[in-house]
């Protein structure tokens, strides 16, 4: 079929469109030229050393990491509790609550960011790390709920009922039966939340306390002059973290589940 051949070529072209620019950043990170763009003059790791020596970037990295980890912790905790309620209990207004839990996604992030700032202004509370943390948690929450909920539906209620009838209290049941079964989803949700926080720029630009930067806002600030080779190296490191870690986690999970 000729049409199918064309569709295949078209698909390959779209995939190239999606990945070529990313590949270019990865490549240019090793360019020894003192300018951020082409041509490639030679292979060099010096921009990675430069990154390491750049205090502002290292500080931004630390902020982003801490923020991402805490966001993952908060969003996953809230998300798991909410999912348990939605999947394990029948109650009035459940559909309404489900939609409500998704509202943070439906509000444009720019508007959400301004709204929270105005609220804080009214309360006379200055911007802080805590604001970033709570804000990121709310942005990540809907995604965690969806991931965890999907998995929880697949875990039979009978396991929990069996534990209860054997004398376990609800907390014991959750810790020893539900949570271990739910662990892959909890992990996936946490990873999701971490990436969302680590990558966020739209709201972070508004919320960050003055003088404090995350990696994306740091890059954003550095871009105002030009694309320096350091940005490419930073891009390389970020891609390795946000793509490499989930891929490795997924690979390991497959490896272990096959071993069983």
């Amino acid at each position: 079929m000729r049409a199918w051949g064309l569709i295949r070529i078209y698909t390959v072209a779209v995939y190239i469109f999606m990945f070529a620019p990313i590949a270019v950043v990865l490549l240019l990170a090793f360019n020894s030229s003192q300018f951020g763009g082409f041509p490639m003059e030679g292979f060099s790791l010096r921009w990675f050393y430069r990154l390491y020596e750049n205090e502002a970037i290292v500080r931004a990295f630390k902020t982003s990491f801490l923020l991402g980890l805490l966001t993952a912790l908060f969003a996953t905790t809230l998300g798991v509790l909410a999912s348990l309620a939605l999947v394990r209990y029948k109650f009035r207004g459940k559909d309404w609550i489900t939609t409500f839990l998704i509202t943070p996604v439906l509000v444009p992030e720019t508007v959400l960011a301004v709204g929270v700032l105005i609220f804080l202004r009214w309360l006379s509370i200055p911007r802080s790390f805590a604001l970033l943390l709570l804000g990121h948690t709310v942005i990540a929450l809907p995604f965690v709920v969806l991931v965890v909920q999907a998995r929880l539906v697949g875990i039979k209620k009978e396991y929990e009922e069996a534990a209860r009838s054997l004398g376990a209290n609800p907390v014991q049941t959750f810790m020893q039966v539900t949570l271990p079964l739910l662990l892959p989803a909890v992990f996936a949700g946490a990873l999701f939340a971490f990436t969302i926080s680590f990558d966020n720029i739209t709201a972070t630009v508004f919320w960050r306390p003055s003088g404090s930067e995350t990696v994306p806002t740091q890059i954003f600030a550095m871009l105002k002059t030009s694309v320096s080779p350091e940005i490419n190296a930073l891009g390389f490191v970020m891609i390795v973290i946000t793509v490499g870690v989930p891929l490795m986690a997924g690979g390991l999970a497959r490896y272990f589940s096959r071993k069983k």
């Binding site: 909410a82 509202t103 943070p104 720019t110 990558d199």
Partner: protein, 289 residues
């Protein structure tokens, strides 16, 4: 009394932290935007608590704002349509391919979501810029001796948006194509349809929910952005979000920022309501999963 007994507080106890967080950080702030839009900005970052329509009057009468709304709408429609056209065919391919390692194609679709948005956006400077790949290639081949100017204009903004939002479109269309009964297409063919007719009369209508959900997502995400035009656009390439950004972070005019934010929220709310009248909300929930 029976009603009281029937009420089970346990799910609400589990839900309360999440509900509290969303209420305090989404619902309450949204109402504050509306209240603040009636305040008056006197000086940099100094607001007077009043009830006046000055900000709204400015928004409704100043063509600068109308222009920005129109620009945002136009660009969002173009991005959405191009993403739909570019994204439908790969989704169709993935859904129908006999390729054994289909999961690789799907994984590659998810992968861009993990690559930082700002890196994906700035990567286009390396493609379209004066020192970019395209200009480098053209000069190396001797076709041009001066770099072609392709950056910092609307075209670059458009490409940046499509690049970032295309995976949303492909995934949504794919999910809905994958759900179509595989016997329908051969059935239509047996009844005398040409392949193109079978696609147009059977497959395309059945994949509409995915196409619509993907389009809504891309439209709303584009219309709410401000970062992409700042990185890839020129001084004239701004969206409504950039006005909000300027009002709040540069001019420190909070009441105007609130007015603009509420307007954007309202306009996009109208788009979502129109969508849900036709398609319902369930597809959208699927889209995020």
């Amino acid at each position: 009394m029976a009603e009281v007994k029937a009420f089970d507080p346990r799910p609400w106890r589990l839900l309360s932290p999440a509900l509290l967080a969303i209420t305090m950080l989404v619902v309450v702030p949204m109402s504050f935007i509306l209240v603040y839009s009636f305040y008056e900005n006197i000086d940099l970052a100094v607001d007077k608590v009043t009830f006046q329509f000055g900000n709204w009057n400015e928004l409704l009468t100043d063509s600068y704002y109308h222009n920005a709304i129109w620009k945002t709408f136009r660009l969002s429609v173009i991005v959405t349509v191009l993403a739909a056209v570019l994204g439908y065919i790969p989704a169709y391919f993935i859904a129908n391919t006999q390729f054994r390692h289909k999961w690789v194609l799907l994984l590659l679709l998810i992968l861009p979501f993990w690559v930082s948005f700002i890196i994906r956006t700035l990567s286009w400077i390396h493609i379209l810029g004066n020192q970019g790949a395209i200009n480098g290639m053209l000069q190396w081949l001797g076709i041009t001796d001066q770099p072609l100017s392709m950056m910092y204009n609307e075209f670059a903004v458009l490409v940046g948006f499509i690049h970032v939002f295309l995976p949303y479109m492909i995934l949504n269309v794919y999910v809905s194509l994958e759900g179509i009964d595989k016997n329908l297409d051969p059935a239509a063919r047996t009844l005398g349809c040409t392949p193109w007719q079978a696609f147009r009369e059977v497959t395309l209508p059945l994949s509409m929910p995915g196409l619509a959900a993907g389009s809504l997502l891309v439209f709303v995400l584009t219309a709410g952005s401000y970062v992409t035009p700042l990185i890839l656009g020129g001084p004239g390439d701004f969206l409504f979000g950039n006005l909000i950004f300027d009002a709040v972070l540069s001019e420190l005019n909070w009441p105007m920022g609130a007015t603009l934010s509420f307007t954007l929220l309202f306009l996009l709310g109208v788009v979502v309501v129109i969508y849900s009248r036709f398609m319902g909300m369930s597809q959208l929930q699927k889209a995020f999963g």
